[in-house]
């Protein structure tokens, strides 16, 4: 059955690639959607019945010394759930391919655009299946690389656009950094345990140590750190959020696919390999997660591009997931990601589709789109309510009445109550709420700040997908496990509502009722988020120092010292040698002279050796 799943996805991809030009693009898109949908259905059935059997595809793949692995599909319980979730997201994305062109400012789809996107969807989902069912370490690392690569390809999908190459490069480099981190951790364990399956590799902390710049480093710290870094990269925590920001450029159908699938991959890593995490790793993960949720909330609020504002909220949700894992609440983390994931999918698809249809991505140029994009408006309202955590703050016989975001935020606040994470989580919730309501208010409320394009229509397929996603957001509270609220802190369930209300009120005040205040604030606060933003980070802390090192330590240093001496010597000798050469050449003695030189060198070498 595992092979069938992979086969369906690869069949769809192959079909998209090999029949492009021969079949109509719509037929390709829908056939792929049907195949991917079947795969998703099989995955759900297998998850619910536990019926996905293992399948060995290649064995052994690499065998050398202690490095040996096979390519096999051997899913665990959560692995199957994550496969099913990813395939469902992929199917929804594939269905939306029907409505291409969904890239900003394009009037019609380019040739083969739908086929290419269908192919990439299939390949991304295939890599997902292989990753979530990996038993071999090399297999898992390879699948992770391909997840990174296909995400990068999707980010740079429109290769003619100015920023596509940059987006592709940044997405891949950041995600490959996470893969490398995981590989280092796996390498330490692999060597120490003389080979191990990936799904049990980090199961127990490892005794022993290695050296870093001559200093002893405990293997336990190293391997746990590797898992934390890899997971943080996939979840898009600060500063790995760069890839989320860049992947916002992807076509609308894919907008939610790569960020959420990779966030699931990050959570899966923490789930499967988390047993090896020590107390220090968990604390670090929690602090890092909470700080990221706040930083990314701030960054999202400061974004001008509506797609980036929405994309950064995936990282903010990832931060809260990390906090749950830090508190050893992996079930809650999964539920939180699932609940927030549906809302985020709705938000990302809605926003990307809005940009694609309207051709405008600047929040300060949007506004007043409610009439022209009624369905988008409705869907985004549902998404914002879900994400921000609005709900009824009074539990009725143990039942929280609200959407998934409210339930998961209440559960998160309950488990963090009494810990140092409580206040940061509250701040993060306020910022998330403010950011998401800001997006909705600035896009739809008030008068249009730029003309709404004539004859805009909301495509029925996109509307349907948004509708189904909105329905899932409404139902999402069902899969969040109830946390027993302490008697002394029954007020906790009011906190998400208050946070959400603060965010909504701030957004409405600053961007609907008193937009002048927001502009004044923007003038008063000098580049608040500049120091946190990815452009400043990459330019100031990565690209420019690297270029400086390359130019100064590389080129300039190369031309100095020994090289300068040799160059001077060569310049002095060259005319004399050239003169001698031209004389020899003129006298047709070249072969003899060359033979003599070679012979002399050979002879002197032999003599020296024999003499020795």
């Amino acid at each position: 059955m595992g092979l069938m799943l992979l086969g369906l996805l690869l069949l769809g991809s192959g079909l998209a690639w090999f029949t492009r030009g021969a079949m109509s693009e719509l037929a390709i898109a829908w056939t792929c959607a049907a195949l991917y949908g079947c795969a998703a259905l099989i995955a759900w059935i297998a998850h619910l019945t536990g019926g996905l059997t293992s399948a060995v595809l290649m064995s052994p793949w690499i065998e050398s010394g202690t490095l040996s692995t096979e390519l096999a599909l051997e899913p665990g319980t959560n692995g199957l759930l994550f496969v099913a979730l990813s395939l469902t997201l992929g199917t929804a994305a594939q269905v939306m391919v029907h409505d291409l062109p969904l890239t900003a400012g394009k009037s019609k789809a380019k040739p083969n655009e739908k086929a290419r996107l269908s192919l990439l969807h299939g390949l991304l989902m295939s890599a997902t299946v292989v990753f979530f069912t990996a038993s071999g370490t090399v297999q898992a690392l390879a699948a992770l690389f391909f997840l990174a690569w296909f995400s990068a390809q999707l980010a740079g999908f429109d290769h003619r656009s100015q920023g596509a190459g940059r987006a592709m490069q940044r997405v891949l480099v950041v995600l490959v950094a996470g893969t490398c981190a995981l590989a280092i951790g796996a390498a330490a364990l692999f060597a120490a345990r003389d080979g191990a399956r990936f799904d049990v590799l980090f199961a127990e902390p490892l005794a022993g140590e290695t050296t870093l710049f001559g200093q002893a480093v405990a293997l336990e710290a190293l391997t746990g750190g590797a898992v934390v870094i890899a997971a943080a990269t996939l979840l898009g925590l600060y500063i790995a959020h760069i890839w989320h920001a860049e992947s916002a450029l992807t076509p609308a159908p894919t907008a939610a696919l790569a960020p959420l699938v990779l966030a699931l991959a990050g959570l899966w890593l923490l789930d499967v390999q988390g047993a090896g995490l020590g107390e220090g790793h968990r604390t670090f993960l929690g602090v890092f997660g909470a700080a990221s949720a706040i930083a990314l909330g701030v960054l999202s609020v400061l974004q001008q591009d509506i797609r980036r504002a929405a994309a950064l909220l995936v990282g903010a949700a990832g931060g809260l997931v990390a906090v749950s894992v830090a508190l050893d609440e992996i079930g809650l983390a999964t539920a939180h990601l699932m609940a927030q994931g549906v809302c985020l999918a709705l938000l990302l698809w809605g926003v990307s589709s809005l940009v694609a249809r309207g051709g405008e991505c600047d929040l300060w140029q949007l506004g007043g789109r409610k009439a022209a994009f009624g369905s988008h408006y409705g869907a985004l309202i549902v998404g914002a309510v879900g994400l921000s955590g609005l709900g009824l703050p009074f539990p009725y016989e143990g039942l929280l009445i609200g959407l998934g975001g409210f339930a998961s935020a209440s559960a998160l606040l309950t488990v963090t109550h009494g810990t140092a994470f409580f206040v940061p989580v509250v701040i993060a919730l306020i910022l998330t709420s403010f950011a998401v309501w800001r997006v909705v208010v600035m896009a739809f409320a008030g008068a249009p700040r730029s003309p709404v394009p004539e004859g805009v229509s909301e495509p029925p397929v996109t509307r349907s997908v948004l509708g189904v996603a909105a329905l899932l957001v409404i139902l999402s509270a069902l899969w969040v496990p109830m946390q027993p609220v302490p008697e002394s802190a029954s007020w906790i369930t009011t906190v998400p509502v208050i946070c959400s209300a603060i965010g909504l009120a701030l957004a409405a005040l600053l961007f609907a009722m008193r937009p002048g205040w927001a502009k004044a604030l923007a003038r008063i606060i000098p580049d608040t988020g500049g120091a946190l933003a990815e452009e400043r980070l990459i330019g100031g802390y990565v690209a420019r120092p690297l270029a400086w090192a390359g130019r100064t330590l590389g080129h300039r240093l190369d031309g100095a010292g020994l090289d300068a001496l040799m160059t001077r010597l060569a310049r002095a000798l060259f005319p004399a040698l050239t003169q001698a050469w031209s004389r020899l050449s003129g006298g047709r003695t070249t072969p003899y002279a060359l033979t003599a030189i070679v012979g002399l060198v050979l002879l002197s070498t032999i003599l020296a050796m024999v003499g020795a």
């Binding site: 065998e63 050398s64 490095l67 690392l141 740079g156 040799m566």
Partner: protein
């Protein structure tokens, strides 16, 4: 088969002699004859190498296909083991590629291919010689044809750069001869198979590694210059900038590989105590070379300099693995040698193809080629990914083996390797982005044709080799691992 190694080594030289003696004229027919003969001879050499590879017994750790005869009082010995086998494959595979890359050459073609074939013989002689005298002679002479190719067919005062490179090698030659004399003197033999078994004096001295250190340091200069190990690398980027790109490939891949072979054969094989003692120094130089090489490549403006710096960085990655000294790190050397060699050769070939189309070597002259040259762009993307070490290519296996091999010894080395992989990835994608992506095709590319059949075949062969090694690394590692396992055991015993 008797004399297989001599046939392998001297077939290119025989073809060069035939060309030198029988080919006359400089018209198109003569040029074509020269190229076809060179391609046939180097292709035949490659097939002999494949036969050698298939006949090689992986379970045997010693030298195989041995030949021995006395010539003028010197013992001519040839043999191949798991260490030299991958070098033979690389040299014989890349020489026909170099000939194919030079197909558009129209100036002094006969002389060009003569030197190219002579170079191949010298390289194979160095790698297959089992006598120290012949090894040193071939090892030191091999660079001369390469420098002549660069100096005579290059641009912008290339002669001075070639001369400079030769001046770099001269002190190394002298010191290597002294070191070889020292080795032969102490072991009372010039037989390399005996020298590898000889336990050279490691008595305590002022230097780390004792008495072996003096010989180690004497031999190190020649090897470091040829391998372009930082900071002895500076001859390569300057020469790569001026030399024809196909010669740049010869310098950046084959000459540096020769240096690495010297390091493996002399330093690692014969002087393991000193190598282990100098491992931190090697690691520092290798790490600096790896990082600075890629960074310099990132800011380079033309193909020749850029790819030369990539070669410098790759040398750093190799030497880091040598300093690791574990079973997996030695396996990683084999895979990295083949993966990086083939990938860099492919990138040089693509640069030649781009130069032919854009009449320029500066990257700024190119852009948005994905639309205009889709096949070239697809090949470029594949080789960029291979440089990054994508799964399914030999680079991935090399990278994993490197991490798995280095980590138990040194986290620093493993982190440097991972950093190198990331920087290579950044570089590969920056190149792809600059050359292939973007909004507008440059005016002079609007009428340019995509790859022709010969170019597609050349690149396809490299692609197939990289994928084959990526999916089935055992085909090579099964044959080379036993020899390296023995070396790794020596290092393990020292630690």
């Amino acid at each position: 088969m008797q004399n297989l190694l001599s046939i392998l080594t001297f077939t290119p030289l025989l073809a060069a002699l035939i060309l030198a003696i029988f080919l006359r004229g400089n018209d198109e027919a003569a040029r074509q004859n020269a190229k076809w003969l060179a391609l046939t001879a180097s292709g035949a050499t490659f097939f002999v190498a494949v036969a050698l590879f298939l006949g090689f017994d992986g379970a045997n750790r010693g030298f195989q296909f041995e030949e021995s005869r006395v010539i003028l009082g010197l013992t001519y010995r040839m043999g191949v083991d798991g260490v030299s086998l991958p070098f033979v494959l690389l040299i014989t595979a890349l020489t026909p590629i170099a000939v194919a890359m030079s197909w558009a050459l129209s100036e002094r073609v006969k002389h060009y291919v003569i030197w190219l074939l002579t170079f191949e013989t010298a390289l194979l002689g160095a790698v297959l010689s089992l006598d120290l005298v012949f090894f040193v002679a071939f090892f030191e002479l091999a660079i001369l044809p390469a420098l002549l190719l660069a100096g005579m067919w290059g641009r912008m005062a290339c002669g001075v750069s070639a001369l400079k490179a030769w001046l770099y090698t001269l002190p190394g030659t002298v010191l290597l001869i002294v070191a070889a004399a020292g080795l032969a003197g102490e072991a009372q033999t010039t037989d390399i198979s005996q020298l590898l078994l000889h336990n050279f004096s490691a008595a305590a001295g002022a230097l780390p590694g004792g008495g072996q250190s003096v010989l180690w340091l004497l031999a190190a200069v020649s090897v470091a210059v040829k391998a372009a190990l930082w900071p002895f690398h500076t001859w390569l980027p300057g020469l790569g900038f001026r030399a024809p790109l196909q010669v740049g490939m010869i310098l950046g891949v084959l000459v540096t590989s020769l240096g690495l072979y010297g390091l493996l054969r002399i330093h690692v094989g014969m002087l393991p105590v000193a190598t282990d003692a100098f491992a931190p120094l090697l690691m520092a130089l290798a790490g600096a070379g790896l990082v600075l090489g890629v960074l310099s490549a990132l800011v380079a403006e033309d193909f020749g300099r850029l790819l030369s710096y990539v070669a410098v960085a790759q040398t750093g990655a190799f030497v880091l693995l040598i300093a690791g000294g574990t079973v997996q790190s030695f396996d990683a050397i084999v895979m990295a040698l083949l993966a990086h060699g083939l990938t860099l050769a492919a990138l040089f070939a693509l640069a030649v193809m781009l130069e032919a189309r854009g009449n320029a070597r500066e990257m700024a002259a190119f852009g948005a080629l994905k639309t205009r040259l889709p096949v070239l762009s697809a090949f470029f993307l594949f080789f960029a990914l291979a440089l990054l070490g994508a799964p399914g290519t030999a680079g991935f296996v090399a990278l994993l083996l490197a991490l798995f091999g280095l980590l138990p010894v040194s986290l620093t080395a493993a982190l440097l390797t991972a950093l190198g992989a990331l920087l290579f990835g950044g570089l590969a994608l920056a190149l792809y982005r600059q050359l292939m992506l973007g909004p507008r095709v440059k005016e002079h590319f609007k009428l340019v044709a995509d790859l022709d059949g010969r170019e597609r075949l050349t690149l396809s062969l490299l692609l197939v080799a990289l994928v084959l090694l990526g999916l089935w690394p055992g085909i090579v590692l099964d044959r080379t691992a036993p020899a390296f396992a023995e070396i790794a055991a020596q290092f393990a015993a020292l630690r």
